[in-house]
Symmetry: C2
Subunit: 343 residues, 2 copies
C-alpha cells in the first residue's frame, strides 16, 4: 500500500467510490479499526447474533470545533452511540461509521480522528464493522461530520416491560452518575478561544460499565436511564415527565465542577442545560437507591454519583427546582439553540 | 400539536435537542414514519430478534441536487441502505434515519423528503425505528445530508460460507438485473439544468424482491451479489476480482437505455462508470444461470436482466471488455471523481 504524504489533504476523489476511496479505506480506516467483519468490506457486515432483542441507535456528530479539551469528534461519535444503546438497556457490540468530509480536510487530522475512534471503540468493547465515506466540496461542510449507528443486545435485567418513563412511580429517586455540564462548557470555551481553566475537560466517556453497574445493582428497581446530552439535565428530565401525571422535584445542590460553574458564568449558560457526554440519569425505586449509588460510586467515572431529586405528583408534567431559601422554580425544556453544534 | 407555516424554514433551534427539536420530530417525522418502535422515542429502539446472523450496513447521502428525475435524497437514502443489506444476503427490516440539515432549508421540502422516506420504506418492507436530527449553520452544509443505517437478518439461502468474491469460480456467469447507469446520468443531467430527455429517470428502487428472487432461484449457485453504485458496473466488478487469480470478461452489449447513452455522450461519461441505484450484479454458477435469469425477468424491475460476462482465469485481477471487432480493453476502477455527490 503506497504511503500518503503527511501534508496531504482530502480531495473529492476520495469520495468517488473508486481508487482513492479504496486507498483511504485500506490505508487509514482498516488499520486503525481492524476486525474480521470490517475486513470483508462487503456492502454490509454479517454479524453473530446473540439472540436477545436488538437495541439499535444512530447519531450524527457535527461538533465545532472538532477537537476540544478531553476529546474530539471521533471519541464523541463512539461514546454518543454506545451510550444511547446502554441507556436503552442494551449491551453495545457493533458500530457503523459514516464520514462526510469537507474537501481540504487534512489527511493527518482525519487519521487522528480515526485513531481516536479505534481507541474509544476498544475501550467500550465495540467493533466498527461497516462504514461509508463521502467527500463534499469546500464550503458544503465544516471539516468533518460523523455518523455512527450501533447495534447491541438487550441486557437480561431490562427484560421486564417498562424501562421507559411509563415505569416511573411517585417516590422514585433521580440519580446522576457525576458532575453535570462539563462537555457543553468545555466545547463552548474551546469555541470561543477562551483560556480553558485547568480542570475543564469534556466528560465524554463510554457508559457501558456504569449502566451495567446500575442495572445489576438495581435488581429490577431501575425504571429508566438516559444520558443528558443536547439540552442537558433539565431537558432530559422534562422528557421523562412530559405527558405523564408525575413531576420531578430537584435539589439545588446538583453536583457541578467549580470550573464548569465559572465557565458557565462567563458564557451566560446554565449548567443544567449544558450537555454531558459521559453521565447518566437513572430513575430508581427508592429501595434500590442505596445499592445503585454504591455500585456507581465504586465504578470508574461514577465516583461523584448522587441523588438529585425525586418523582412526585405535585406538578404533573413539570420539573421543579427547590431553591435553598425554600422557594421553587420550574425548569422548562431548552427553548432556543443555547449551544448549537455541541455534539 | 401546533401547525407550522408552509413557508417556514429550518433554523438552528430545530437542532438544539430542546423544544423545537421535539416539535420537528412530533409534527414531521413521527406522522410520516409511524411505527411502535419509533414512537417510543427512546435513546435507542428495542427490536424483535429473528435469530439468524445480523446484517448491518450504513450510508450517508449527499446527492446534489437533492431532487432529481425519478427520486429524491429520501428515496435514495432508503434504497441505498436496503440494497446494501440485500446484497450482503440479508432481509432488511429496520432503518435508522439521521439528518444534517443546513439552516435555511425549507420545512416544506423537508416534509416532502420525509414523506418520500416513509413511502419508500413501506415499499421495501422496512421500518424507520430510530433517528437523529442536527442543524448546521448556513454555509456549513448543502441543504440536507441524510444517513441511514440498516439492520436485517441473513437469509437462509446465504448460510453457506462464501457469499463473497472468494466463492467465485472460473466459468461462473455475471448477471445484471437491468439497464445500467440511469441514476448517475439522471443526476448529472439534473445538475447541469440540461433538458432531461423524456425517459431518463434514476433507476433508484429497493432491490429486496429481486435479490430474494435471485437467491431462491439460484439454489446455492449464487456466489455473490452487489449493487453497482458509486463507480458503476466497471468499478464494482473490479472489486470482485481484485487480489484474486480470476478475471471477468464482459460482453460489449451490456444493456444501456438509449436516453442514458445520449446523456453520457453529451456529458462525456461512460455508462459503465455511472452509478445505478436499483440494479444488482450477481455472479452465479453457470448451471444456475437460466433459473436466476428467469426469476429476475419475472420480477418487477428485472425485466431486462441479462448475462453480461463470465469469470475466467485469463487476466488475474482484471476486468476485460470484449469489443465487437474481436479486440479487448481493460476496464480499470474509477480513477478520480467522475461524478462527485451522485449519492
Amino acid at each position: 500500500m503506497e504511503e500518503m504524504d503527511r501534508d496531504e489533504i482530502i480531495t473529492l476523489d476520495y469520495g468517488s467510490g473508486g481508487l482513492k476511496t479504496s486507498r483511504l479505506i485500506q490505508s487509514v480506516l482498516v488499520p486503525a479499526l481492524r476486525n474480521p467483519a470490517l475486513e470483508e468490506l462487503g456492502d454490509g457486515a454479517v454479524l453473530e447474533n446473540r439472540g436477545s432483542p436488538l437495541v439499535f441507535s444512530t447519531d450524527s456528530f457535527v461538533v465545532s470545533p472538532w477537537r476540544f479539551p478531553g476529546g474530539d469528534i471521533g471519541k464523541l461519535a463512539v461514546c454518543g452511540t454506545v451510550n444511547d444503546i446502554c441507556m436503552a438497556g442494551g449491551e453495545p457490540l457493533y458500530l457503523s461509521l459514516a464520514c462526510i468530509i469537507e474537501e481540504g480536510f487534512s489527511m493527518e487530522d482525519f487519521r487522528q480522528v480515526v485513531r481516536s475512534i479505534g481507541e474509544t471503540a476498544r475501550l467500550a468493547g465495540v467493533q466498527v464493522v461497516t462504514g461509508d465515506t463521502k467527500v463534499v466540496e469546500r464550503g458544503k461542510g465544516d471539516g468533518l461530520y460523523i455518523n455512527t449507528s450501533g447495534v447491541g443486545f438487550r441486557r437480561k435485567e431490562c427484560a421486564s416491560p417498562g424501562f421507559s418513563p411509563r415505569a416511573m412511580r411517585p417516590g422514585d429517586d433521580v440519580i446522576v452518575s457525576g458532575t453535570v455540564g462539563c462537555h457543553g462548557a468545555a466545547v463552548m470555551m474551546a469555541r470561543g478561544d477562551l483560556p480553558c481553566q485547568g480542570p475543564l475537560r469534556s466528560d465524554c466517556m463510554p457508559l457501558h460499565r456504569l449502566s451495567a453497574a446500575v442495572l445489576q445493582a438495581g435488581a429490577g428497581g431501575v425504571r429508566l436511564m438516559r444520558d443528558p446530552t443536547r439540552g442537558g439535565v433539565a431537558t432530559t428530565l422534562n422528557e421523562f415527565v412530559e405527558g405523564t401525571p408525575l413531576s420531578i422535584e430537584l435539589e439545588e445542590d446538583i453536583p457541578v465542577e467549580p470550573a464548569v460553574e465559572a465557565a458557565c458564568e462567563l458564557l451566560g449558560l446554565d449548567p443544567l442545560y449544558c450537555a454531558c457526554e459521559g453521565r447518566l440519569l437513572a430513575v430508581c425505586a427508592h429501595e434500590s437507591t442505596p445499592a445503585v449509588l454504591e455500585a456507581l460510586r465504586s465504578t470508574e467515572g461514577g465516583e461523584k454519583a448522587a441523588v438529585i431529586g425525586r418523582v412526585t405528583e405535585e406538578r404533573p408534567g413539570r420539573v421543579v427546582l427547590r431553591t435553598a431559601l425554600g422557594g421553587s422554580r420550574i425548569l422548562e425544556k431548552l427553548a432556543g439553540a443555547q449551544l448549537p453544534r455541541i455534539c
